[in-house]
């Protein structure tokens, strides 16, 4: 197989932890950090799927015998970029919220409900 259970475990832990942070924290920045942690977990999971224990970087040279799958790495690169974009978007919204409310507490922006 191409990866240890440790990586999978860590990835899942990161994902669940991130979601829990996002769910429980009240500070918007912390929520976004939670989302980022979750993204990191997902990325780790992606990488793990293509990882072969002891493999080298997928560079085409003469010595390649045991390389990791390159596609997940490409995917992760894209995912990281997307994650950054989402974070940027989130932060810009948060900035505006802060301008409006003078607070980062998400409980204070619970006007719309029911």
């Amino acid at each position: 197989m191409n990866g240890g259970a440790m990586f999978y475990g860590a990835a899942i832990a990161l994902i669940i932890g991130g979601i829990m942070i996002a769910a429980t924290k009240r500070n918007l920045i912390k929520i976004i950090i939670g989302l980022n942690i979750m993204e990191t977990g997902v990325n780790l999971l992606l990488i793990t799927t293509g990882y072969i224990s002891g493999g080298t970087a997928p560079i085409m040279n003469k010595t390649w015998t045991k390389v990791v799958d390159p596609i997940p790495q490409a995917l992760v690169l894209t995912a990281i970029v997307i994650g950054v974009a989402v974070t940027a978007m989130a932060l810009s919204i948060v900035v505006r919220i802060y301008e409006k409310n003078n607070s980062l507490d998400i409980r204070k922006i619970k006007e719309m409900r029911w």
Binding site: I19, A23, R107, K110, R113, W114
Partner: protein, 601 residues
């Protein structure tokens, strides 16, 4: 294809009326008049023919065939009443859209009575619902909404049945139910029956009627009661003697249950009608009650009782429409339909009075009017079948008809004339014309019931139910005989005799309405001489407990419950992102556990 062209005339006429009315009110009226006259003419010449059409709209094929003799009969009722209603409505104030909806409604009803497949049936049913909704909408919107909700409920029963029927038969035609189990047939039948029961206002689906009839435009109420309610009755005929004919003819207990439902409707609605202060509410309940007879008759499913039901519904179409037209003319002149505010109008509006008088005579089923033969056959068939209690219930219901119909004629036309109506004139021709026109069949079918019965015979023979013994003027059953012509002649002779006796007496003088016996008091306007409020108070007092028991309270509770449910349910959206994430996470975990659990353990 004539039927198709009639529908086309009505649809195009409706749109043109709407557009024409934008230019000038009179142009709109002219177009509406033309299209309704044309549809009346073209439909009338279809008499005795087999007609229909099929059009392919891609998704479905729509078939309309006059497969039942009743199709033409009800269609004719529809176009006649539609024509009269449109004629009368010219004098009333309506939005431009009203004429469109009336013409579309007529088209929908014509399509319904000729619908040969369930898609056309449902389509036309929804058309009828929608455009009668718009007709009532022109009066008062709350009632229109109530009407719509109830009738959609009915339509949904029907569409559910259609969908299930389709599942089992694989066909959209209404005539194929052979290989269904008894229970399935029963359920489907009851679904369809409930759907049509809403349309024909059978209890317990009658609660929309009061509001809808009271608040719809007055000339439209005539159409609603006279024609739209017939849609439900036609539906009963359709399912009882066509789609589920074999099943229904054999299902004695079902027949009895439905007949009892009709009987109870007739009785309860009759009692409620006596307690109403508004003439249109009263007539609404009377309409429910009269249609109860129809249901009781056709549900019993003997040739005689079916004829009774069919005759009664023809009669109902005539006299109930007549009554609503007279109320329309009164309301047109006085601006109110509340009986407590009216009185003494006989002196001002004699034609309307005659209309109402004959209307109530027919309504209470007094011979020789169109109201009697149906009731007579109903009693005979009940007794022959041994349904004595049912006969008793129907009989009691018909006594309540005397009660409320007298209240109607008295409160509006008799009694003292309020001074504010001193300058009143008879309603314009647009109202009196329908009244006079409807008086003709009212009396003609009363003395010659055979005219209608021969038509019903064709229905009975085509659907293989049997036949009854009758001629143009008499009907014979195993119990007895009713010769309408003789009754009519004796009536006329007796009246002449009584009138001669009357002429033998001395001359009389006309006195003022306050010149009457008041035990010495000198009365004027300030005395309340018009006994109209709480007309049957002593009766109401005796049946207080019964009157309190209303199905409406159940429905109110139900609607409140749904409202509260809505309020409770929306609190799920708490507005907190944390909750939403928790919903998401927990549902995901739950799903994984449930389905993973199946896989892993």
């Amino acid at each position: 294809m004539t039927l198709f062209y009639i529908l086309l005339i009505l649809f195009v006429g409706g749109i043109l009326t709407y557009l024409g009315a934008k230019i000038s009110k009179h142009l709109g009226h002219a177009i509406a008049f033309t299209s309704s006259t044309l549809s009346l003419y073209f439909h009338s010449i279809l008499y005795g023919k087999l007609y229909g059409f099929t059009i392919d709209i891609g998704l479905f094929k729509l078939h309309a065939v006059a497969f039942s003799p009743l199709s033409w009969l009800i269609g004719e009722i529809v176009v006649v009443i539609g024509f009269l209603s449109i004629l009368a409505s010219f004098k009333e104030k309506h939005s431009d859209f009203y004429y469109l909806s009336v013409q579309f409604l007529l088209a929908g009803m014509l399509l319904f009575v000729n619908a040969y497949d369930s898609i056309t049936l449902f389509l036309s049913l929804e058309l009828v619902t929608l455009f009668s909704f718009f007709g009532i909408w022109d009066g008062r919107k709350e009632s229109a909404v109530k009407y719509l909700i109830w009738n959609l409920l009915g339509a949904y029963f029907i569409v559910a049945a259609i969908a299930i029927l389709y599942r089992f038969t694989g066909s959209y035609f209404m005539n194929e139910v052979h290989y269904l189990g008894k229970a399935q047939k029963l359920v489907l039948f009851l679904l369809l029956f409930a759907g049509f029961a809403v349309k024909s206002a059978l209890m317990p689906f009658h609660v929309w009627v009061k509001d809808a009839y009271r608040d719809s435009p007055h000339s439209f109420t005539a159409l609603l009661s006279g024609a739209v309610s017939k849609i439900g009755i036609f539906g009963y005929f359709l399912i009882m003697f066509y789609t589920f004919a074999k099943f229904f003819i054999g299902a004695k207990y079902l027949q009895l249950t439905l007949a009892w439902l009709g009987g109870i409707t007739a009785l309860f609605a009759g009692i409620y009608a006596t307690t109403k202060d508004d003439s249109k509410e009263l007539l609404a309940y009377s309409s429910i009650s009269q249609l109860g007879y129809v249901v009781a008759g056709i549900a019993l499913a003997t040739p005689l009782s079916i004829s009774a039901g069919a005759f009664q519904f023809v009669g109902h179409a005539i006299f109930e429409t007549l009554l609503f037209f007279t109320i329309a003319s009164v309301a047109y002149r006085t601006g109110t339909t509340r009986m407590t505010e009216l009185g003494g109008l006989i002196k001002k509006m004699p034609v309307s009075f005659i209309g109402l008088l004959f209307g109530i005579i027919a309504l209470s089923g007094i011979p020789p009017t169109v109201g009697f033969p149906g009731k007579w056959m109903l009693y005979e068939s009940f007794i022959i079948e041994g349904r004595i209690l049912l006969a008793a219930v129907i009989f009691t219901a018909s006594i309540t008809a005397f009660l409320y119909s007298f209240r109607l004629v008295y409160s509006i036309f008799l009694g003292p004339l309020p001074s504010k109506y001193e300058d009143l004139k008879e309603a314009p021709f647009n109202f009196t014309f329908p009244i006079i026109v409807l008086l003709i069949p009212l009396l003609l079918f009363g003395v010659q019931p055979g005219i209608v019965l021969y038509y019903i015979d064709r229905f009975l023979s085509i659907f293989g139910i049997g036949k009854i013994e009758h001629s143009y003027s008499y009907i014979v059953t195993s119990l007895g005989k009713f010769n309408a012509l003789y009754v009519g002649i004796v009536f006329a002779a007796a009246f002449v005799f009584a009138f001669i006796v009357y002429l033998l007496g001395g001359r009389t003088r006309k006195v003022h309405q306050f010149d009457n016996f008041t035990a010495g008091e000198v009365v004027d306007e300030s005395y309340k001489l018009h006994y109209v409020d709480d007309f049957y108070l002593f009766l109401e007092r005796e049946i207080k407990g019964f009157l309190k028991l209303r199905i409406e309270s159940l429905y109110d509770w139900l609607s409140k419950f749904v409202d509260g449910l809505g309020d409770a349910v929306r609190r799920v959206y708490s507005g907190s992102h944390g909750d939403y994430i928790v919903y998401l996470g927990f549902t995901l975990l739950l799903l994984i556990l449930i389905y993973g659990g199946k896989l892993w353990f």
